[in-house]
Amino acid sequence: MADQLPLHPGLFSWPSKRPELLGSRCLECGEHAFPSQDSCRACGSEQTEIVGLGHSGTLWTWTVQSFMPKSPYLTDETPETFRPYGVGYVELPCGLKVESRLRENSPDSLAIGLDMELEIIPVRCNDEGTQLMTFQFCAAEVS
């Protein structure tokens, strides 16, 4: 039994030191999509391929989720342990903007144009005790 599994298959490459989002690219018109799609929402073609969308990008817009959402939100948190989280769209090298949770959760630490990188985080444990994982972005370490 694995200790950790993706919450949903096919969203990101993992385990990996440098995880990457996975999406699709249209073989007809070249448009990208996340999550991957069998058909293209730009041109309607049914010819698409799975591609890596990269590990990093820049923050295009953001907000902070300040209260614990009700269903369908499903984590191990309680109203007492809930911590606000950032939400944003991160612009990837291919130009696609992907919606994501953000590690940073205060207006002081978020700004449009910030360099961001992908990390994989636990969401909750299932009945077998396996940790279910999802993706989020966080401010990139200055290199």
Binding site: T61, P72, V87, L96, E99, R101, T134
Partner: protein, 381 residues
């Protein structure tokens, strides 16, 4: 081709009405509209109606009379009222019918709407990880817009201030208490930069309109309002819409832009001809963005328009004179028709304490909502 006139206006007050079902609130509005036109349900040849959570609109015949008329239920998200009006417009313009009723009502549970990923073609992870909230989308859209077009936080507060001030002089509004700039600015934050007083809430209410051929209108009212255009449009690839796990590299114009341009073209007029407008304001950012998307000002001009009071009741282009969704709440099935109801009163000169003083001849209504749909009506006397 014959023109279309609105000759009867009816509303059930918006807000909370625990003693009435949604359907009953729809019936109250329908009876009021029929009485306003001096006619009755038996004279209606057709009806178009819609509700999200209030039940099947055509069940209204059990309350209004089983007359055998064509009653079609319309459900089109936030554009339900606009779509019903468009159907009535087409039915009369085509010559199929002379006269009919449009009605919308709703009764939502308290608190934010609770959408499920599957209903939107999304997988469960999207909701489970906390991305399925419309409040986040609205916040992120205005956040980017403020960055791109130099809109300040002060302008957000001013839109809410105007909404509650107008609501305070609207007898059928839900929120009838004016709020100060400071009260609004210091309300609890919901989703940065939008706080509690900057969002509208789900609510209850009903609204109805009686429409007929314009050449018959004088039989029913001395003050008919002409429906010059009734347009509904959906989104294009690349428009920034709610519940989108990803967005295209190039941002396309929203469906509001295409609906607005088509409506002006049908009516043969332009934004400069409009005297009073209702623009969808599910939150303050929406009203700001919709001022530009509907062609009334350039992106960024909202900053000085709000400061100079251009959109106040006594301004050059009064916007949301009844307090809009912010003060009325949003019973989805009825909300778009409320906008038309308000504009008709303004054009008749019967809007009471909130009557705009510029002797308006042309009015405009606009809705926008999930999943990327927009409806625009142009009205004239």
């Amino acid at each position: 081709m014959t023109e279309v006139a609105i000759v009867g206006l009816g509303i059930h007050p918006f807000g909370r009405s625990p003693e009435l079902t949604g359907l009953e609130q729809g019936a109250v509005a329908a009876r009021a509209a029929l009485a306003d036109a001096g006619t009755d349900f038996k004279a209606m040849q057709f009806a178009f109606g819609g509700s999200q959570d209030g039940g099947n609109a055509d069940s209204l015949v059990n309350l209004l009379g089983l007359t055998g008329l064509q009653f079609t239920n319309i459900w089109n998200g936030c554009a339900t009222g606009g779509s019903s009006l468009n159907a009535a417009y087409s039915a009369i313009r085509s010559g199929q019918y002379d006269m009919g009723l449009v009605v919308g009502f709703d009764k939502h549970a308290r608190g934010a709407f609770n959408p499920q990923p599957r209903d939107w073609g999304l997988d469960d992870w999207y909701g489970e990880t906390g991305l399925m909230l419309t409040t986040q989308y609205f916040a992120m859209k205005i956040q980017r817009y403020m960055h791109d077009h130099g809109i300040s936080r002060d302008t957000l507060v001013r839109v809410a201030e105007k909404a509650f001030r107008n609501g305070s002089i609207t007898p059928t509004a839900w929120r009838q208490t004016a709020l100060s700039w400071e009260e609004i600015e210091h309300a609890p934050m919901v989703s940065e930069p939008l706080n509690k007083y900057m969002f509208c809430s789900p609510a209850e209410g009903g609204c109805a309109l009686v429409l007929c051929r314009a050449d018959m209108a004088q039989q029913f009212t001395s003050r008919p309002v002409l429906l010059k255009s009734a347009v509904v449009r959906s989104r294009h690839y690349g428009s920034f819409e709610v519940f989108s796990p990803s967005q295209a590299p190039t941002v396309a114009p929203s469906p509001t832009v295409t609906a607005s341009q088509a409506a002006f073209e049908f009516a043969g007029i332009g934004p400069e001809d409009v005297d009073v407008a209702q623009l969808q304001d599910t939150e303050v950012g929406a009203e700001i963005m919709h001022m530009a998307e509907n062609g009334f000002c350039a992106h960024g001009d909202q900053e000085h328009w709000l400061r100079e009071g251009v959109t106040e009741i006594n301004g050059r282009l009064p916007v949301n004179t009844d307090g809009g969704c912010l003060a009325n709440g949003e019973p989805v099935g009825a909300s778009g028709l409320r906008q038309v109801y308000e504009i008709c009163h303004q054009l008749r000169g019967s809007a009471g304490a909130r009557q705009v003083p510029n002797n308006p001849k042309v009015g405009y209504t606009h809705v926008y909502g999930a999943p990327g749909i927009s409806g625009v009506n142009i009205l004239a006397v």
